[in-house]
Symmetry: D2
Subunit: 116 residues, 4 copies
């Protein structure tokens, strides 16, 4: 599934509903925070060791719904900010490879600026 | 850019660094919250009317970096939870079309369950 | 420690630095999201079963710092929105007692509207 | 209103409902993220210039409810992590005074490490 296609679909969806006036950078950011809150709410009482059971009993579908909502606001936010999300992603992937060389970061959860 | 390809790239990246042990559903969710926090920090003192100036003076690039980080954790989270993100996205797009019929939701920021 | 006193201290602190112009409702909300993100970052790679060790080895102090930062923005936000936080808290405590009667909610993580 | 008293009230509330088993550090953190998400949802379509009207037409009360919920999880989290929130707050207030000297930070939204 193509990110750029999702962007176009969402732009048409918003235009058809005259939602552009609501879709400012800060509004979409707060909307995304709201969806991240719903994701957290799904997981708040599910201890680490209960995650498999949670996923198997309907949690996987609900998680997929929340992740989709977050993604929509994320893609829409990039579009409204007039930034090329695909280029940004490519740049960040390259940067992460440099920041986290395989040998130094193997098995370590340290941030790049704390790697020995 | 293909979402499924990003998923594969991130899986290889994590495997090479032996990061799978850190990438549980709740860990990745908290990591995503951390990145959303960095996005909010970028925008916290930028009033609505100052957004254009912010974007033009380096803000667009920084926004693109944070959105990429959020997206990476989102895609990785779906992968670890063994859920098909593309199907979830398609289902949600269809659902949103039903929830927000063009006529009823035109120009309104109301939630679907508050539409007249 | 008195919440109202914290409110007054923070108001003086902001006034002395001419920060009132930055402290709008949405700015402070985004700033709070930023601090919540820092809290999440602290905990993102600490599995449930490693929390005690984390707290004992410096984590408790860092957690206290993040919680203080969140609290400051929360108290300041209430002040700027001209709302009486203490009354709101009292009302919510009373409401929670009604929503979650001891017998019905004992040992259950269900939301009040899902209680049998 | 005394923070320590709120802490005690919430501890009794949780104990009466046998909720201690749910109230781990990470669970309460995710629950707090959920409430912050609800706060963001309140404000997501309210542009900066519409905040006064929002507050006057019921928004102030709803904001007070969300802030109370966030505060409850925050206070409870400190209690469960066995950290002295009041000491942490005092330490942070003192630290902020040092980090942001009145003269240098007057009228500036810069972070302490970016002050000239």
């Amino acid at each position: 599934m193509d990110l750029n296609q999702i962007r176009k679909d969402l732009a048409v969806f918003a235009k058809d509903r005259e939602w552009d006036r609501f879709h400012s950078v800060r509004n979409l950011s707060l909307a995304m925070v709201g969806e991240v809150g719903e994701l957290a709410e799904l997981l708040q009482w599910v201890d680490d060791k209960e995650i498999s059971r949670f996923l198997a009993s309907g949690g996987r579908e609900r998680l997929g719904e929340e992740l989709s909502d977050i993604l929509f606001y994320l893609v829409r936010l990039a579009d409204i900010a007039d930034l090329d999300l695909e280029s940004a992603i490519r740049a960040k992937l390259g940067e992460n490879s440099l920041k986290y060389p395989t040998e130094k970061s193997k098995g370590s959860a340290k941030k790049y600026n704390e790697l020995g």
